[in-house]
């Protein structure tokens, strides 16, 4: 133990905590020191600011959609406006919020520290990826300002290539560029995990957060380029009229569907896997216990990444894929559901015989487990071939992916932001307010999206501007829920902002967590570690932490 404690920076205990004099935030000053930084932590902060911005723009569109659906009549806005609203809601939320949400912010901030490295392998490429993201975001805003785009986020051909007069090419370019941002992030993570681990940090000593990011990065690196080339072909088809997807020239629009979903299905795992990582960390920390079945959880992430590439055609069951390929893809879909089930149960059993406390991140994580279980199970509904016929393209599928993406991923994101907020800023968020926000979000979320399952089974199609009056009651419920949900999302924005200046000083390890990131000062130094640590313990080894603390006290005393 003595070897370990000497390699890790010793800092005073929490009650007497003061903000460290020198950290990555105050190391350099001025706007340029941020815009030209190579520091993964600063880039993470840049990402955090930009994705929050886009989240609230996307959220504004969601609000407008729900407001329009308050009444069955198309009365708030014109059809085209409504179509642009949900298209931009989808494009912004998926490509500019969910895909980079956890990896580019928390992942960027934490992966090098968790591995005991000073930075990601390619700091400049990391910065480049933020600029690419920004260019993508700006182009999306340009498409929005110039008049919007109404393809839906799926860019279905031939609608997107031949039948719309909106800014499809601008939006496609935006996504193309934002895609390269996520490719570079993924590439950076993979290389960092392979080449930058500290001495003693073996693969099976890595925190599960790193495992799930590794799996997500593989998907980013292999999946995103296929989307890129698909969008290039769509843009070429619109501009010069090549005929790869155009049925009138002999092309096949179903080929577009195959190529698009070849990325876009793995993309949902790109979005959710990092969330899994956050949940593993949070659950373990607040039950003060190693994650139940570490290896199973780690490998289930990898299994999801592998199977995730072979299920894309389940988005096309009613589109006339051959019956036999439908069978194969349905079977594989069932198989990909299993690793997620394993994770859920492993997390639940992590609690067993723990010593559980209920800080805000833990509440969000509980919310995640509940909502993701529902989201995952309804995914099995949709993976079942015959069931999919009735449910697909209705509000059922809308509710399903919002349960997974918003109920799952956004909960995980907020859990992670709260959990690592002390590490990122050096200050605590206000605990009772944030608990209120977590509960509000959970209630608002269920109120918004549970009625949509019923609506979907009743047959209300998605992307409808107006609907038959008998669906109104459930839509009103959903809109009411969305209001609550909106409040739930605005609260963290306010109190986290407040805590930047007035929050209690956090100290190094306010949660007494085991990760390497908690053994250094908060906020960390620019170079993370004064000396690279030598890792001689497993992840989530609370005994090691306890021993270390004891040693520290003796050293200090």
């Amino acid at each position: 133990m003595s070897a370990t404690s000497s390699t890790i920076v010793n800092l005073p205990d929490q009650s007497s905590a003061t903000l460290p004099k020198r950290n990555y935030l105050n190391n350099e000053h001025g706007l340029m020191s941020w815009l030209l930084t190579g520091d993964h932590k600063r880039i993470a902060i840049l990402y955090l600011i930009s994705i929050t911005f886009f989240f609230f723009i996307g959220g504004f569109f969601a609000g407008m959609i729900r407001l329009e659906l308050l009444t069955p009549q198309p009365d708030l806005m014109a059809s085209d406006t409504y179509n642009k609203m949900f298209s931009l809601h989808g494009i912004i939320m998926i490509f500019l919020f969910l895909v980079p949400s956890v990896p580019a912010t928390l992942g960027n901030f934490l992966i090098p520290i968790m591995l005991g490295a000073r930075d990601l392998a390619f700091p400049k490429i990391n910065l480049l990826s933020w600029y690419l993201y920004l260019i993508g975001g700006t182009l999306t805003l340009a498409a929005l300002v110039l008049g919007g785009v109404d393809t839906g986020w799926t860019f279905t051909t031939p609608l997107s290539t031949h039948y719309l007069n909106t800014h499809v090419v601008t939006a496609a370019t935006a996504i193309f560029i934002a895609g390269f941002s996520s490719i570079f992030t993924g590439l950076n993570f993979i290389v960092t995990v392979h080449r930058m681990r500290a001495p003693g940090m073996t693969w099976f000593r890595m925190p599960l957060f790193v495992w799930s990011h590794y799996a997500a990065s593989v998907l980013m690196v292999l999946g995103t380029p296929v989307l890129a080339i698909t969008l290039v072909l769509v843009a070429l088809e619109r501009t010069i009229g090549i005929g790869v997807f155009d049925p009138s020239k002999g092309g096949d629009p179903l080929l577009f569907q195959h190529l698009f979903w070849f990325y876009s299905h793995p993309a949902v795992y790109i979005m959710i896997l990092p969330g899994f990582g956050v949940i593993s960390e949070v659950i373990s920390t607040f039950s003060r216990k190693r994650v139940f079945g570490y290896t199973a959880v780690a490998f289930s992430s990898v299994a999801i990444a592998v199977f995730g590439f072979f299920v894309w055609a389940h988005h096309m069951f009613i589109m006339g894929v051959s019956n036999y390929s439908a069978l194969v893809f349905s079977l594989l879909t069932m198989l990909v559901a299993v690793p997620s089930a394993i994770k859920i149960f492993n997390w639940s059993f992590t609690l067993q015989k723990g010593s559980i406390t209920f800080e805000t991140p833990m509440l969000y994580a509980f919310g995640f487990i509940g909502l993701f279980t529902i989201g995952g199970m309804t995914g099995v509904f949709l993976g079942g071939l015959g069931m999919d016929i009735h449910l697909t393209e209705t509000y059922f599928i809308v509710a399903h992916f919002h349960f997974v993406m918003v109920g799952g991923m956004l909960m995980a994101f907020l859990a992670g932001v709260h959990f690592w907020w002390p590490k990122m800023t050096g200050r605590m968020y206000p605990e009772s307010l944030s608990k209120l926000a977590a509960v509000t979000t959970f209630i608002g979320f269920n109120l918004t999206f549970l009625p949509q399952f019923i609506l979907g089974y009743l047959g209300m199609p998605r992307r409808y501007h107006a609907y038959p009056p008998e669906f109104q009651v459930l839509n009103v419920l959903s809109t009411a829920g969305a209001t609550v949900l909106g409040v739930g999302y605005l609260m963290p924005l306010i109190y986290l902002g407040w805590s930047l200046k007035y929050g209690a000083i956090a100290g190094n390890n306010p949660w007494q967590a085991t990760g390497l990131e908690w053994q250094i000062q908060s906020p960390p130094l620019t170079e993370n570690f004064i000396e690279i640590p030598i890792v001689d313990h497993e992840a989530y080894d609370y005994e090691w932490l306890a021993n270390k603390t004891v040693n520290e006290v003796t050293t200090v005393g």
């Binding site: 080449r195 290039v232 070429l236």
Partner: protein, 254 residues
């Protein structure tokens, strides 16, 4: 493996002050423990990037295989429109360019600045030659209205005799229209390849400039090596494109 390497590396006792200096003058290497680690990371990253590129072109190759299977006669006839001598010349040019690049990497490794600069210039020159030949080929397609779009013209496939083509049987109109799919893919694939060439040539100008300044002949060869990988990858893509587009559907010229 890399763990042990990192452990074996003697840790220098770096004082706090020195580190402050490092962060004020950020050299992008300072976060690596060792030179070897940085080099390995760079190469590994480059290979991963090439994997990404394979997936990028993979989408196009998949589309090509699908349509070739569906519209075989149209693909066969349309592929006869491409000039094997020009394509073959381009293949030779590109391989020569790749060979120069390989020599350039070697020159950087043996720290021979003059030879490196010459090789980079030659690589650029052959790359430009390739694009020039490509331009000639594209121009011919433009003249013949074989660029997909509203002005695409199938008369040459429907009635080859009228265009002075004697070794080709006329295609029925519906099959002839499928040649547009071939040319769509031809332009998409070679166009994407050409875009990669252009990006490569831009990088080459920059690398030549830096090589001339002597940046790469003091033992720091990673940019040259990694660019070499990229350039060879672009060559290899062409080595797939050339047979797929120019050769395999070609029927014997009688």
């Amino acid at each position: 493996m890399d763990n042990t390497a990192a452990v074996a590396h003697p840790r220098e006792a770096v004082g706090l002050e020195e580190h402050t200096e490092h962060t004020f003058l950020p050299q992008h290497r300072h976060h690596f423990e060792t030179e070897a680690q940085q080099r390995e990371a760079g190469t590994f990253g480059m290979w991963l990037f090439l994997l990404t590129e394979i997936m990028f072109f993979g989408g196009l190759f998949f589309a090509y295989l699908l349509y070739r299977n569906w519209y075989y006669p149209a693909f066969a006839v349309a592929s006869n429109q491409l000039s094997v001598p020009l394509g073959g010349a381009n293949t030779v040019i590109l391989i020569t360019s790749g060979f120069c690049m390989a020599l350039g990497v070697w020159a950087a490794e043996v720290r021979n600045k003059g030879f490196l600069v010459i090789m980079l210039i030659l690589t650029t020159f052959f790359g430009l030659c390739f694009l020039g030949v490509k331009y000639v080929e594209y121009h011919e397609k433009w003249e013949k209205h074989h660029i997909p779009g509203p002005s695409f013209d199938i008369s040459e496939f429907v009635n080859p005799a009228a265009h002075g083509i004697t070794n080709e049987k006329p295609l029925p109109v519906d099959a002839a229209e499928r040649t547009q799919v071939f040319f769509s893919l031809y332009f998409a694939m070679t166009g994407m390849h050409a875009v990669h060439m252009i990006i490569g040539i831009c990088l080459l100008f920059w690398l030549t400039h830096r090589a001339y300044r002597g940046d790469f002949t003091t033992g720091y060869v990673a940019p040259i090596e990694n660019f070499g990988l990229y350039w060879h990858f672009v060559d290899i893509v062409w080595l797939f494109l050339f047979p797929l587009l120019y050769l395999i559907n070609r029927h014997p010229l009688h």
